[in-house]
């Protein structure tokens, strides 16, 4: 089964089982996202991919496409909300883009540029999130975690290791590793794991390669993320 829906006024074809985000993307329309990944089932936590369908907000990553639905995505209203969500992510963690070795390769930073987030707007929370440098190959800098759970999912579903999980709740929710000591070195984590290579921000960082590629020549340095992402799809 298949059909067509309207995405910002343009017809977009879909096949049964596709979500709004998947169908829109296949048709060349980018929808901002952080916790969604093409190789994993929808998660629906970051809410960057919200769109309006029949006047109601929905997560486009999780909502199945339906015949004739009218989807608003790239509107000042929705982009304003996405910007506010980004501002929320920036103030709840500790983000130092200019000195971060993920700069230019970071989806959070790239989206902030793309959605013209010019200020942090809200008061910073300045949480205390100590780094874990125990592992020989990989550093965990929890300051930038956005709780997309991609590392959790990759480690569990692909690597078969269950290295990561979330604990706490509300604003105190945080990432933990699978060791009584709480140290990454005491897990079976390896830099070759998918989980080590999937973080959209700068939490999971490989040691000794940080600035091998200079800032300015990185993924999102020359073109905005909505262009880069769609080129990757092709």
């Amino acid at each position: 089964m298949s059909g067509t829906f309207l995405f910002d006024g343009q017809p977009v074809p879909f096949t049964d089982g596709q979500t709004i985000l998947q169908a829109a993307r296949a048709a060349g329309h980018y929808i901002a996202h952080l916790c969604w990944h093409p190789d994993f089932p929808p998660h629906g936590s970051c809410k960057l991919c919200i769109v309006k369908v029949a006047g109601r907000h929905v997560s486009s990553c999780a909502m199945p496409a339906k015949e004739g639905m009218e989807v608003e995505s790239n509107t000042p209203e929705i982009n304003g909300e996405r910007r506010a969500l980004l501002q929320m992510l920036f103030v709840e963690g500790n983000h130092f883009c200019p000195s971060c070795e993920k700069s230019g390769n970071c989806q959070l930073q790239a989206l902030a540029y793309d959605l013209e987030m010019l200020t942090p707007r809200f008061n910073h929370f300045f949480p205390d999130r100590p780094v874990d440098a125990s592992h020989p190959e990989v550093l965990l800098d929890f300051n930038r975690c956005i709780f997309c759970e991609l590392c959790v999912r990759a480690s569990r579903d692909v690597d078969g290791k269950n290295v990561f999980a979330l604990t706490g709740r509300g604003i105190h929710k945080h990432l933990v590793v699978n060791a009584e000591s709480g140290r990454l070195a005491d897990t079976d984590f390896s830099a070759a794991d998918l989980a080590a290579n999937i973080c959209p921000v700068g939490v999971i960082l490989k040691k000794r390669v940080g600035f091998a590629q200079p800032i300015g020549a990185r993924k999102y340095d020359a073109q905005p993320i909505h262009v880069v992402a769609m080129q990757e799809d092709k």
């Binding site: 809410k47 506010a84 929320m88 709840e92 999980a165 979330l166 604990t167 706490g168 509300g170 604003i171």
Partner: protein
């Protein structure tokens, strides 16, 4: 640690739960009961016993308020922090207890004897202020009782040796109607439904037009039919007894004194949908009801009302198990409740799919509120048409209200739907009323000019909470209390709710400290809209309700806290002089008003 060897404790407890991973939360609750808290080696041992990743066990242990991955006192005192408890003097009583025991709020005493902190509403608002000691509720606190409690703790008296009157919880039923006035023998309603056959029974449910009493108001018969028709023979009936909405306690009374009606309702649902398994999810705060509920279950089993071939009906097999919560309001959301029943963190699921097709362990599941299930017994006994004859066209039957706050007679009131707020206020002895919070923190704040409105899904919907505030109360502080509640109870899954509730908390505290500006009110409104639009579940969507309502209806309570009342008139004085300038042919600087200068003078 020697008498609590983690490996042995884990082995014992996990074995008792048949090493069933879906019982992880129950395992953690039991293990903690043995040891007092959940030390890291114990979590490791439990993970090994259940063959689960340790991080997952730690994730669950860290989610629930009543699980302690860090040491707590041998006496864990938790003051109910709902606004009604606060209005009855809870903060001063907590301060007094901390002073007497020489312990700081939220900290463990140096000898490890006691810790004193707050918890979300304990559901004792009709007899507050209340607290929990090691999970057991104490009501009607005053300074004499606080002295007594401090003395008992200082003397290290075991809880079982404490005077029983401290633990007394009253029903406080003030008005009975169809449900609370019902006198029936256990099994009577069930026999009537069985006599009608499964389809005939569902037909009566249709005629009754019963809507869920948990707040959302979905038509129960439609839910049951969807579950019955869903693929899969292994259907489940879940009773949502996670009554956590601040200000509501009607399920507590139903479970304490009408448990037969609740279990009979679950069995009636099982008859309709063809379920064999029933689960009652009891909020941790109501743990003291557990023994009584288990006794009732045992009695019903003995009477042939549960088990194989119920009431002699071949093929009608159904039994009920009780799961305990551990202090997480979000688990009242049905999909979060299912996650919790499966032994996970209580994070609401993505929908679709819905629980009626993919619920508990992916099986078709009916999730109904305690009161909804109890009401089905009335339908079975008297028929759907008779049930639909009371209430309003869109809201049939009666509704239990949990009334607390500034009134002479707090307690449980049963009214036919459609009763006006005025009438309820009169009955409970409330005068000089400024506002009523209907439906709890996530509900609606009604101001005086709305008291003619009616309790019904088509006007003022409610899960049952009805909190009264007289003119002496500060509605800003009411809203601030609710904002703190939501920030504490957000599961943290989605960005808007996790960060938004924490931001709202910050703004409200800033205003409370007298540092507010008009811009803060604008930010509060904007974050509120974002929460409503973008949140993953109802908790985030309703978290801004009390602030939005009080900002709209009690704005002066906010504005008098602003340091800077940044007033900008819509009327432009200089523009009004334009005709005069035209007439005189002047447009030099002297013919203009310098508004900036004007206002600074």
């Amino acid at each position: 640690m020697s008498q609590h060897d983690p490996v042995r404790v884990a082995e014992d407890v996990c074995l008792r739960h048949r090493r069933d991973r879906t019982r992880l939360l129950q395992v953690l609750i039991d293990a903690q009961e043995r040891v007092g808290w959940l030390p890291p080696p114990l979590l490791t041992a439990i993970a090994a016993q259940l063959d689960l990743p340790r991080a997952r066990v730690e994730g669950v242990a860290g989610f629930y308020s009543f699980l302690y991955p860090r040491p707590v006192g041998r006496y864990r005192v938790l003051f109910s922090d709902n606004i009604t408890d606060r209005m009855l003097g809870a903060p001063a009583l907590m301060e007094a207890l901390c002073g007497k025991l020489r312990v700081e709020p939220g900290k463990l005493s140096e000898d490890g004897l006691v810790s004193v902190a707050t918890t979300s509403c304990t559901g004792m608002c009709d007899q507050g202020p209340a607290l929990l000691v090691n999970g057991r509720p104490l009501t009607r606190l005053d300074h004499a009782r606080i002295d007594q409690i401090a003395e008992l703790i200082r003397r290290k008296q075991p809880l079982d040796a404490w005077p029983a009157e401290l633990f007394q919880v009253d029903d406080n039923i003030r008005r009975r109607d169809a449900l609370l006035g019902l006198s029936q023998q256990p099994g009577e309603a069930l026999a009537a439904a069985i006599a009608r056959g499964r389809d005939g029974w569902l037909e009566q449910m249709h005629l009754a037009k019963l809507r869920g009493r948990g707040g959302a108001g979905f038509t129960t018969a439609v839910k049951w039919m969807a579950c019955r028709d869903a693929a899969g023979a292994d259907k489940v009936v879940v009773c949502n007894a996670d009554e956590g909405e601040p200000g509501t306690f009607k399920d507590r009374v139903l479970l304490a004194s009408f448990a037969d009606l609740v279990f009979e309702g679950m069995t009636l649902a099982a008859w309709a949908v063809g379920a064999r398994q029933g689960l009652l999810y009891l909020r941790g705060e109501y743990r003291y009801l557990l023994d009584g509920l288990r006794t009732t279950l045992a009695r019903r089993r003995a009477a042939g009302l549960l088990g194989q071939g119920i009431l002699g009906e071949a093929g009608f097999d159904f039994d009920i198990d009780i799961h305990l919560g551990a202090g997480a309001y979000v688990c009242g959301e049905e999909s979060a409740l299912l996650e919790s029943l499966e032994g996970k963190r209580g994070t609401p699921r993505i929908r679709p799919p819905f629980p009626v097709t993919h619920g508990y362990l992916g099986r078709p599941t009916v999730v109904n509120n305690v009161e909804t299930l109890a009401k089905t017994t009335l339908i079975a006994l008297a028929g759907g048409t008779a049930f639909a004859a009371t209430g309003t066209a869109q809201s049939t039957g009666t509704k239990l209200l949990s009334i607390s706050g500034d009134c002479a007679r707090p307690g449980i009131y049963e009214y036919p739907f459609g009763v006006s707020v005025d009438r309820v206020l009169e009955d409970c002895g409330a005068s000089d009323v400024q506002a009523v919070q209907v439906g709890g923190a996530s509900g609606v704040t009604l101001a005086g000019y709305e008291f003619h409105r009616r309790i019904a899904f088509e006007d003022v919907p409610t899960a049952g909470a009805f909190m009264v505030f007289d003119s002496s109360r500060d509605m800003f502080e009411v809203a601030r209390n609710f904002v703190h509640f939501f920030a504490h109870e957000s599961c943290g899954f989605c960005t808007p709710c996790r960060v938004g509730t924490a931001l709202l908390e910050g703004y409200m505290d800033k205003l409370a400290a007298g540092h507010g500006a008009k811009m803060d009110l604008a930010d509060i409104e904007w974050i509120g809209r974002l929460l409503k639009n973008a949140s993953h579940c109802g908790l985030g969507a309703s978290a801004p309700n009390p602030v939005a309502d009080t900002l709209l209806k009690f704005r002066p309570a906010y504005e008098r806290r602003l340091k800077n009342l940044d007033f900008e008139p819509a009327f432009d004085l200089d523009a009004a002089l334009a005709p005069a300038r035209r007439i005189t042919g002047r447009d030099d600087p002297g013919a203009h008003l310098d508004t900036a200068q004007e206002t600074s003078q």
